[in-house]
Subunit: 223 residues, 2 copies
DNA sequence: TTGCAATTCAAACGCTTGTATGAAACTATC
DNA sequence: GATAGTTTCATACAAGCGTTTGAATTGCAA
């Protein structure tokens, strides 16, 4: 089994290069040069380039998913099997946003890699994302419990919009910064989380009893 | 100038192939075979592969942008220089959604091409999207006029979330259908538009006077 | 130390890609 | 109907890619 040195050097180099330059123009030769290993090592240890990318993405996304479920479970246990919708939504989008946003200079390689994965979406990554549905169903279940009078259709749309706001904000963070001339502070991650959760909560609760508080205001003072 | 036959045959074939199989695995040789023209014709008429892709995307996106601005202008003129926020948002997301969603079997090649462009985002397309900011500023202006008491930051976030919901729904329409086991009807485009507009309106008006109507209901019967 | 499996290595393979070339075939003008 | 300009064509090019090969090296167990 040796020391795994070569294997992890490849993983680290690949993640760094993909994060910096995207999947499109990073070749295996770039990766092995950065890692200081032989070209054939990639195929020896991973089988193929796609499997290398897949392993990188799987590693990072199970981390995020685990964090999501941890928050969800904690919230539901605290509430005796039923968590408030805001907290569920926060468990859904919080880990992703925290993992990908934040001050650029202190953004981890992993974070930058996941942003790339979100923007470019190469085949091996897409294949993995398609298997994420079971994971999302757990959130659907929790949301149903939190909003028993809401129709399934509304639940699905609410979930879709929550993910939409989180992922799009990550993907287009640069554009939003430019459009707003810096007025939208994407480094204040908790403010972003609060905004997304607030809007998603409104989407899910509008029309019945109206969200307890204006929701925005209460989420706001994290700032 | 001849008949332009070759040029447009290439454009049509390229759009069709990209729409069907994505940018990743369509080569120039595939395109010229489909178009029934010579390989060198692409470089003769377009200069390079990237310029061909760029021309395809520019053509389609100026169509969408023109439609957006037409709706926006009509609404503002009708309201004497100030349109209701719902109508502005509808002008923003309506054309895109109508252009990309709808029953799959009657979805135009152009629509499927734009969905691909939204998912895969190759370099020449990304370059063009980055120049879209000026276009968005016109909507920022309209939104400011509609909601003069709202801060710029809130306006930008509202715009961001509206685009997020529209684009993400397009990108992930397949996943949403699968997750909801068909309960979310993505072929009912006007319902999707109404949902996005409704949520975005709430996001932009929450905390002050509360959106006049549940917004959803009134937008609903467009169908 | 010997033997064996795991790992590393340089080199090459085979294929595909976008692009360039220069001759041939048109088209229209005078 | 010769001429000039445009467009098409077969073909080749050069580069880059992921992958494979088989020999060399290493590390560990007997």
């Amino acid at each position: 089994m040796a020391s795994d040195h070569t294997r992890s050097a490849i993983l680290a180099a690949a993640e760094r290069l993909y994060a910096d330059r995207g999947f499109g123009d990073v070749t295996l030769r770039d990766i092995v040069a950065e890692a200081g290993v032989n070209l054939a090592a990639v195929n020896y240890h991973f089988g193929s380039k796609d499997e290398l990318i897949a392993e990188l993405f799987v590693t990072r996304s199970v981390q995020t998913n685990r964090e999501r479920l941890r928050e969800l479970k904690a919230a539901e246990e605290e509430g005796g099997g039923r968590a408030p919708i805001e907290v569920i939504l926060r468990a859904l989008v919080g880990p992703t946003l925290r993992g990908c946003l934040g001050p650029e200079n202190q953004r981890s390689t992993a974070a930058r890699f996941m942003i790339r994965a979100s923007i470019e979406s190469v085949p091996p990554i897409r294949r993995i994302k398609n298997r994420e549905i079971d994971h999302l169903r757990k959130f659907v279940g929790a949301m149903r419990r939190a909003l028993p009078e809401r129709s399934d259709v509304d639940i699905y749309w609410g979930l879709n919009f929550a993910l939409a706001m989180a992922h799009h904000t990550i993907r287009e963070s640069e554009r939003l910064t430019k459009l707003s001339e810096g007025k939208c502070d994407l480094d204040d991650v908790e403010d972003v989380v609060a905004r997304v959760v607030s809007v998603a909560t409104m989407a899910l609760t509008a029309g019945k009893a109206e969200a307890k508080a204006p929701a925005r205001a209460l989420a706001r003072d994290a700032r």
